[in-house]
C-alpha cells in the first residue's frame, strides 16, 4: 500500500493541507461574500488613496513639480495638472513665470499667458505671439513683467514688448520708448510646498482605484500580476487534495 494511503500518513497530510489552505479558504469565502454584495456595501464608491497601492497599480498621483505661494494661496504644478490650492485649473503646462498684481495673476506657459483673478478664477487664455513662444524668450531670465497705468506689459531682453489688451484677449506689440515709466513686477519663484499642500492634493485626487477592484483582484489573484491566478489555482488544487484526504480518512474510520 502506498505510504499516502496509510491512515496515519493521510491524517498528517490532511492536517498539513488544512493549515495551508485555511487562511486562503477563509479569504476566498469572505471576499466572495463581499463581492456578492458590492452594491449594498457600496464598495465601488470607496476610493483608494494609499500611495503604495496607487503605485502598485501604476496610477499617477499628483506629485508637486513647482509650487508658488501667493499670500495665503498656492499655485501648484504637477505632471498632470495645475492647481489653485487643491482645485484643478482648466489648463495645463509647464509654468515658466508667475506674476501677480493687486487684482490679477499671470501665469506664463510655453505658448500661452493665463489670466486668473487674485481669487483663482480663470479669466482668459491669451495665445503668445510667435516671437514670444521660443524657449529663449519665455525663459524667466529673458523676460520681465511691467505695469504702466493699469496695463501689464511683457518685455523681452531683446527690446521687444507686448501689452495685454484692455479686454484681456491678446498681446499687442508696443514700443519700448517709454520704458522708463514702467514699474517692474516681481516674478514669484517656485519654492518647496508644505506637506499639508501635498496632503490636500492627495485628498482631492479622484482616484480611479476602488475597494471593489482591490477585493476582486485579491479574490481572483490578479492583484499579484500574471502569477496571481496560478497561485489561486494552486490553492484550489490544495483544497481539492484536502477534501480527498478527508474522504480517505472518513472511509477508513
Amino acid at each position: 500500500m502506498p505510504a499516502l494511503f496509510k491512515k496515519h500518513t493521510a491524517r498528517q497530510f490532511h492536517r498539513l493541507l488544512a493549515y495551508t489552505v485555511a487562511f486562503l479558504l477563509f479569504w476566498l469565502s469572505l471576499s466572495g461574500v463581499l463581492l456578492n454584495h458590492t452594491e449594498d456595501l457600496k464598495l465601488n464608491d470607496v476610493k483608494i488613496q494609499q500611495p503604495w497601492l496607487l503605485e502598485w497599480y501604476q496610477i499617477n498621483t499628483p506629485k508637486i513639480q513647482q509650487a508658488f505661494q501667493l499670500k495665503a494661496d498656492w499655485v501648484i504644478q504637477t505632471p498632470q495638472a495645475l492647481y489653485w490650492n487643491k482645485t484643478p485649473l482648466p489648463f495645463q503646462g509647464n509654468i515658466r513665470a508667475l506674476v501677480s498684481n493687486d487684482s490679477f495673476l499671470f501665469i506664463l506657459l510655453s505658448n500661452k499667458l493665463i489670466l486668473l483673478t487674485n481669487t483663482g478664477d480663470f479669466i482668459e487664455r491669451i495665445p503668445l505671439p510667435e516671437a514670444l513662444q521660443s524657449q529663449n524668450v519665455t525663459d524667466p531670465s529673458n523676460l520681465d513683467f511691467f505695469t504702466q497705468q493699469n496695463h501689464v506689459i511683457l518685455a523681452a531682453k531683446n527690446s521687444q514688448a507686448w501689452q495685454i489688451s484692455e479686454d484681456f484677449t491678446q498681446l499687442i506689440p508696443i514700443q519700448t520708448d517709454a520704458q522708463a515709466s514702467w514699474i517692474k513686477l516681481t516674478i514669484i519663484n517656485s519654492q518647496a510646498a508644505p506637506e499639508d499642500i501635498q496632503k490636500q492634493l492627495m485628498n482631492s485626487f479622484d482616484s480611479p482605484l476602488t475597494l471593489e477592484k482591490i477585493i476582486l483582484e485579491l479574490h481572483n489573484g490578479y492583484f499579484f500580476g500574471k502569477v496571481g491566478p496560478w497561485l489561486v489555482d494552486l490553492a484550489s488544487l490544495l483544497f481539492i487534495l484536502m477534501v480527498l484526504s478527508g474522504i480517505r480518512l472518513h472511509l477508513k474510520k
Binding site: Q80, N85, P90, G120, D121, P127
Partner: protein, 182 residues
C-alpha cells in the same frame, strides 16, 4: 473693482479630465467669426459678461457646476440699443463627456433664434451638430424655474452632449435677462 469679487472655489474635482482639454484660443476662431457674420452685422462688438455674485450662483445651478471661466463673451451689433431685448449672440463652452463643446446661441426678444455647434471635440455624440437637433431650440424661452419652455428630444448615445447644449442654451437665456435694460 476686481478686489470686491467674492468667488467660491471651483468644484471641478470630478472633472479632472477637463484639464487635458484645450479650448479655442481667446482670439476669435474662424467658426465663431463666420457665425457672427451670419447672424449679426459685420461690425458686431464683443462684450464680456462677468459671472460674479448672483450670476455665478445661478449659472452654477444651471450647469450643476460653475462655468469654467469667470466671464462669458457676447456680441451685439454696434448700433444696437444694447438692451436685453436686442439681438445678442453668445459663444460658450461646456464639457459633453470629456471635452469642451463650443456652442453659439443667438437670442432676440428673450427667445432663442438659433443654436449652432461651433466646435465639437468629443469622439461621440456628434449628432447634436445636426440641424434637426439644433432647430428644436428655436423660439425657446426660459420659464420661471429657468428651464426651456419647449422640450428638446434626447439623442440615443449622445445624452451628455444633449445635456451640455441644453444647459448652455438655458445659461445664455439667463445671462441675456441680466443685461442692462435702458
Amino acid at each position: 473693482m476686481m478686489n470686491k469679487i467674492k468667488l467660491s472655489v471651483y468644484l471641478f474635482v470630478t472633472t479632472l479630465s477637463l484639464l487635458s482639454v484645450e479650448s479655442q484660443a481667446s482670439s476669435v476662431s474662424e467658426e465663431v467669426t463666420r457665425f457672427i457674420q451670419n447672424n449679426l452685422a459685420d461690425n458686431a462688438k464683443r462684450n464680456f459678461m462677468w459671472l460674479t455674485g448672483d450670476k455665478k450662483q445661478v449659472s452654477s445651478q444651471i450647469l450643476h457646476h460653475p462655468y469654467y471661466k469667470i466671464r462669458a463673451p457676447y456680441w451685439q451689433a454696434k448700433n444696437a440699443n444694447r438692451s436685453r431685448s436686442a439681438k445678442t449672440l453668445w459663444v460658450m463652452e461646456e464639457i459633453g463627456k470629456e471635452k469642451l463643446i463650443t456652442i453659439g446661441v443667438v437670442i432676440e426678444q428673450q427667445k432663442i433664434q438659433a443654436v449652432r455647434i461651433l466646435k465639437f471635440r468629443e469622439s461621440r455624440g456628434w449628432e447634436v451638430e445636426l440641424p434637426s437637433f439644433t432647430k428644436q431650440f428655436e423660439g425657446s424661452q426660459l420659464d420661471d424655474s429657468k428651464q426651456l419652455n419647449q422640450s428638446v428630444d434626447g439623442i440615443s448615445g449622445a445624452t451628455l452632449s444633449v445635456r451640455a447644449v441644453t444647459n448652455i442654451a438655458r445659461l445664455a437665456l439667463y445671462l441675456q435677462t441680466t443685461l442692462p435694460n435702458p
